[in-house]
Subunit: 405 residues, 2 copies
């Protein structure tokens, strides 16, 4: 694949031409914004990636059915209540959210997608949502900030990103917003993500591009190994940049794929960095694996290990826990070939402690930082993978034990 | 299988006839006991189950080789240092521990097994161990207490159990000791377990019986999903009860198997109860699965979920997290058939909240106790499984982040 000049810009879900968004407080949460809308002036191609959890929330089932058309124009999102494990009533509520949104936008009902995130098992407070929808439609604007705020749950910061890439004589923009921050694991996180682009892309090509981008981004992060019932990525491509429609392989698709993957990776890293209770962002690089799948497996096992994550929280260069995690990952591992670095510091070589007696101290100093990179070389082959996670802290426990409320 | 009268008795690794044990402080740890020995007056049949982690500590590799003889007479165990990720030096040290122990016991060297538990990646302090071995041999006695103490790492209590079962006109005893308490997950925990029995059992029959017992006990517990490099269960059967040797299927084997499994389950539950930082013992019962393997998978997923475990810690009857965990477990799940109980309280039925509006409050009251049972009925078939775990607390994080030291 040609290396493309993908440029990160300030922005988010409304950076691509023809998109507007908004976020309001309608009353699902006590005070904070809890209803968001993303809208394309023109009908768009649409693609989606959804949770693989067998317990799927009604809005997920609703979107999975609707996405088969490959078309879309708006996404309405509520936070504070996941509309999950809510049965037939939940499906009726998701449908009503779409219908009301379409009604106030004056568009066809089947172009609206619905996402919800928050507590599982309680019916959506539909009275609040019915009052909120006309308001969130009225406030649509080119500023995507309030929408990114309105989808937050335990996130501490709103998350948005945008990138640009030249295609022919034009510039195409891909932007998006996402939310975390617990129950995050590949296939997928408790994430809701809306991506928008002004490229024109045929629906099947768009779906494949989104799947590829998700594999390199949202499927590479883990916070706590839990997979939610609501995870959704939706992508709308409205063609407003004026570039010819991308209908198959070629330079244009490569450029678009680069931009889409970059935007997705940027958002996914924001999720890991803002994992519940996190004090550190952790990148795990595995190389020398027998193949890429093994590298991913090993990286995942390190990223999910509570013992590794607590050691990183405590700033302790406990590489033995990393070897133990790798050894139990299912990946091919020869204990006497494994090397581990913490940042630039080699801490283990050929499966035993690094010879330099100062390496442990140096590694501890490195771990004191907020950005931590762990590199594991399995010494077996050319397989590589990178995954992202965060540390495991007392604050994670307090937050999820409900000891804050 | 005939229901056997297996009776739990006070005791442990020296309850079976002909076994003695001891534990001393030799200097691996700053103060506490750190070297243990279990010894059978007569050479015994021996069987072992070892970690499936591909990174195996030298003593594990040493025992795996040695156990092929099916014979054994002593197990020497050190705590405070796992002798793991220590390469060739680690193997030499394990061998020397066995040789010294055999020397001071005056038995054949190849009848001694070696276990170590503690920090990974540092060479064993062999000077301390060399001084400790004659002492631990000298102090051998029919009281197993000090041995159970000397294998503790982060355990808060020593763990021992013993059971008796009649075989013919005799009574056979199975006893044992074990230690946890983090890095605990099936296949297996960071556990060291020594089981002893005065039954006479042919080595291949003993190996199969131990495998079966482990599957029902140590492979049913999880604390944090991490699998250690050192997990070992060793079983010595010395025949001192005077019962004819068990060489194959029949009443005697069934009785012995019941006793062995009961002893193993009792010890395994002690491990879960004393998981690092645990405040609650949690039993997850899954029924109505398509088959037993699916039930185990679903139970495991619930038991390992940080979100479920923190909710239990916080006393919050968040059944949605249980459904999410089950749905992501890989087991066959139909969301609209799942029912969940917390103790006797139904909290979810057919995949949605239980109708009784007071059930959440009742469940919260139930969760305030120290012994929690969660039952999940998948509503699909006759598969059943039970797994044991503990809650996830701030103390777990503090302990493993090294914030206590």
């Amino acid at each position: 694949m040609v290396e493309r000049v993908v440029r990160l810009i300030q922005g988010g879900v409304t950076s691509a031409q023809g998109f507007v968004a908004s976020g309001v407080h309608c009353g699902i949460k006590p005070e904070k914004k809890d209803l968001a809308l993303v809208y394309s002036r023109a009908p768009a191609s649409a693609a989606g990636v959804f949770t693989t959890n067998k317990v799927k929330a009604p809005p997920v089932l609703f979107n999975m059915e609707r996405i088969r058309s490959g078309r879309g124009q708006a996404v309405v999102l509520s936070s504070g209540n996941a509309n999950s494990c809510t049965g037939e009533q939940g499906m009726r509520d998701a449908r009503e959210m779409a219908e009301l949104t379409a009604h106030y936008l004056g568009i066809a009902d089947d172009l609206v997608y619905v996402c919800s995130t928050g507590i599982i098992g309680r019916p959506l407070p539909m009275d609040a949502i019915r009052q909120g929808i006309p308001e969130v439609v009225r406030l649509l604007s080119p500023d995507g900030t309030t929408a990114a705020e309105a989808i937050m749950t335990t996130d501490t910061v709103p998350k948005a990103a945008a990138v640009q890439v030249p295609i022919g004589a034009q510039v195409v923009t891909v932007g998006g917003m996402t939310k975390g921050a617990g129950m995050i694991h590949p296939q997928m996180a408790t994430t809701l993500t809306v991506l928008t682009t002004d490229a024109a892309v045929a629906p099947p090509v768009l779906a494949a591009a989104l799947r590829r981008a998700a594999d390199q981004s949202f499927n590479r992060i883990t916070v706590d190994g839990d997979r939610s019932t609501n995870d959704t990525i939706l992508l709308l491509a409205n063609g407003e940049a004026g570039v010819p429609e991308i209908t198959g392989p070629g330079d244009a698709l490569e450029a678009f794929q680069s931009a889409l993957t970059t935007a997705a990776v940027t958002l996914a890293k924001m999720l890991a960095r803002d994992g519940e209770g996190a004090t550190k962002f952790v990148e795990i690089v595995v190389r020398g694996a027998q193949n890429d799948a093994d590298a991913h497996r090993a990286g995942q096992a390190v990223a999910i290990s509570p013992l590794v994550k607590t050691a990183i929280y405590g700033g302790s260069p406990n590489w033995g826990r990393i070897l133990a995690a790798v050894g139990a990952s299912g990946a091919e591992v020869a204990a006497d070939r494994v090397a581990v670095w913490m940042g630039p510091v080699p801490v283990a070589e050929r499966g035993v402690a690094a010879e330099d007696p100062e390496s442990a101290e140096e590694a501890a100093r490195y771990l004191a930082g907020e950005d931590v990179q762990i590199t594991v070389d399995l010494g077996l082959g050319k397989g590589e993978a990178t995954v992202w996670t965060c540390d495991l802290t007392e604050a994670y426990v307090r937050e999820n034990a409900g000891l804050l409320s």
